[in-house]
């Protein structure tokens, strides 16, 4: 598949922006500047960036709680993301949702979800809407390996299948549902085989290979539009704990170090350099741009006003 240089560099930048966003977010926690929690996707950047880079603007995504890469991939505004993370009035959700409930309907993100597997039925509904309105677009429902054991997963795949809806179910398998290793949660080695139960296509690939994720999503998007729903499993690994308060007693440092060697960003930069798609100088420029973008986002967020209690009833009900 021919990918032009602009696209390559855009995807590289977005992966680095995601990494820098989360590294800075983690630092803000340490500095005591953030109240609440966050779930980091460091190590998983290629999944959300690769998938969303293959989508059209009017395609929808339903994000997970670990979805900064999905949002940045769908062109969400980093300043508004950071402001929401800090709970500010200028954030995407006016400080009411935090990063576990972030959305940008103008960019096709129908929101992140704090309920494991909670977004899957919504993805089915959004795809039903697209089909009913005769749009040539798809909906991506992101979920994790843990969600593959929720009832919503099974009901949603079945419903999408019998109604032949344009949904791409994307599983970011990072091998742990909080502390529980996938081997203790299911008796299969590959989540993609579950697609067979619902009469849809399943595919499992290396989720740390950005280009592979991007290319397979391009193909999957076409397949979904022409032939109906599909399950795409991206095998990856989260480097950080489940959330900010995770001592990680359930895995060894060695295991984490082994996965760090498979860093999706380093792997992609190596590919870009070896194939002479980009120079080291160009990549360094993008790395620096990402840091500047995050700096600007933090400055914007920190200088933004707190939401006011006077407005708390706004948005509970629509007029």
């Amino acid at each position: 598949m021919k990918v032009n240089k602009k696209k390559h560099l855009d995807m590289y930048l977005k992966m680095v922006q995601t990494r820098k966003f989360e590294e800075r977010a983690a630092k803000l926690f340490v500095q005591g500047k953030v109240h609440g929690t966050a779930h980091f996707c460091i190590g998983e950047e290629a999944t959300g960036i690769g998938v969303c880079s293959a989508l059209e603007e009017e395609d929808y995504i339903l994000q997970t709680h670990r979805g900064h890469n999905q949002g940045i991939g769908k062109n969400m505004d980093i300043k508004l993301m950071m402001a929401e993370f800090l709970g500010k009035e200028t954030g995407y959700c006016k400080g009411k949702g935090g990063c576990m409930h972030i959305a940008d309907f103008s960019k096709g993100s129908l929101g992140a979800n704090g309920i494991v597997g909670g977004g899957l039925p919504l993805a089915v509904g959004a795809a039903l809407s697209q089909k009913y309105q005769k749009k040539k677009n798809i909906t991506v429902g992101f979920f994790g390996d843990g969600a593959a054991n929720e009832g919503t997963f099974h009901e949603s795949l079945n419903l999408a299948s019998i109604w032949d809806l344009p949904v791409l179910f994307v599983c970011t398998n990072n091998y742990y549902g909080m502390s529980n290793h996938i081997s203790k949660a299911m008796n299969i080695n590959d989540i993609a085989v579950r697609a067979d139960s619902y009469g849809i296509r399943g595919l499992s690939i290396d989720g740390n290979d950005l280009l592979k994720v991007y290319e397979e999503t391009i193909k999957a998007r076409k397949y979904v539009l022409e032939q109906g729903p599909m399950l795409l499993v991206l095998n990856t690994y989260r480097w950080m704990g489940h959330s900010k308060s995770d001592p990680q007693a359930y895995r060894t440092k060695k295991e984490v170090e082994e996965w760090k060697k498979k860093c999706p960003i380093k792997r992609y930069s190596k590919y870009l350099l070896e194939n002479k798609i980009a120079s080291q100088e160009e990549l360094t420029d993008l790395d620096e741009k990402a840091v500047r973008d995050i700096d600007a986002a933090v400055e914007f967020a920190e200088n933004s006003p707190e939401p006011r209690i006077e407005n708390i009833f706004d948005d509970v009900y629509a007029d």
Partner: protein, 326 residues
């Protein structure tokens, strides 16, 4: 005026709105060829086709969530849950998704959907098909909750619910589906706003506040007392959320005596909220006696018809409560 049944009135509301608004789709188990477990959607598949009348597998969670997702993206879905007891299977999608979507995303999107489900006992369907679970959903900000007691109200309130831009839980009453009542001709596009109680019987001596199937029973009680010269006012709140607080307070001030009646279990029931609305207001100073609640016994609904009839308020038990206040 012509008379039609409660079920027919609901069918008319659904059909008339669907004719006017292409964005409305209708999802549920056995709502197509079967016409719905209680016959509400008879004839709708033939008129609107499979694209808009979506017979679903038995997957309450997915169909409720699919309605939320469709509502977020430009449609106005109606979901039928066959028995309100099965809302338990859809609770995450209703409580954590439908109700919170607008608020948690800072008002970026609306969720205009209606979830219809029949509740109540009296059919011998026993513990898992007879509950009145309205208090659960009233406790969730973001949802509206409506329970109509007559064919006229059912049609007018459902039209309002379908035009509302919020998720509305519309709890129908199984035992009312076959009752008849006056409803204007189909061309008369009347609607009843949500949040407006209806005085079903005016009176001066005592107020009974109720809703749903119990409205009939309270009216019967009121007629019995009329022969003794006691003039009872019966208020049907119709919409639990939003609630017509002013209407309740005004009636309590007028009569000074209040009995609250509902079929749902008394403990944690919505009657506690209704009572509090009155005692928290200036109506407190007009009360001549404590407010009495008559709710269902705190037991699951039993199978045996004799037992089933006795675990919910009866004309006798309502009358006893009234008499205590006179």
């Amino acid at each position: 005026m012509r008379e039609i049944t409660y079920a027919e009135a609901i069918n008319e509301a659904l059909s008339e709105e669907m004719r006017k608004d292409e964005k409305i789709i209708f999802l549920g188990e056995d709502i197509g060829v079967y016409g719905g477990a209680f016959g509400v959607s008879r004839g709708m598949l033939e008129e609107f086709g499979e694209e808009r009348i979506l017979d679903t597998p038995i997957s309450e969670m997915a169909i409720t969530g699919a309605a939320v997702g469709a509502a977020m993206t430009g449609l106005r879905p109606v979901v039928e849950i066959m028995f309100s007891d099965f809302m338990t299977l859809a609770m995450d999608q209703l409580v954590n998704q439908a109700a919170k979507t607008r608020f948690q995303f800072g008002g970026q999107v609306n969720v205009p959907m209606v979830l219809r489900a029949p509740g109540g006992s009296g059919t011998g369907a026993a513990e898992q098909h007879s509950q009145s679970l309205e208090a659960w959903v009233c406790h969730v900000p973001g949802l509206k909750v409506v329970i109509p007691s007559t064919p006229y109200d059912a049609k007018g309130l459902l039209k309002s619910a379908m035009r509302d831009n919020n998720p509305v839980v519309f709890l129908e009453q199984k035992l009312l589906y076959r009752i008849k009542g006056e409803v204007p001709e189909p061309g008369d596009d009347y609607v009843i706003p949500l949040g407006k109680a209806d005085i079903k019987r005016e009176g001066t001596d005592l107020t009974i506040i109720t809703y749903g199937r119990m409205v009939q029973r309270c009216l019967e009680t009121a007629e019995n007392f009329a022969s003794e010269g006691v003039d009872i006012e019966v208020i049907d709140i119709r919409s639990l959320v939003p609630l017509d607080k002013e209407g309740l307070i005004a009636s309590a001030k007028k009569t000074g005596k209040v009995v609250i009646v509902h079929e749902a279990c008394q403990t944690g029931g919505y009657g506690g909220e209704l009572s509090s609305v009155i005692v928290d207001s200036e109506a407190f100073f007009y009360l001549d006696a404590p407010i009495k609640r008559v709710g269902g016994l705190d037991v699951p609904i039993p199978y045996n018809p004799g037992l089933e009839a006795e675990v919910v308020p009866t004309v006798d038990s309502i009358s006893r409560a009234v008499r205590e206040l006179l």
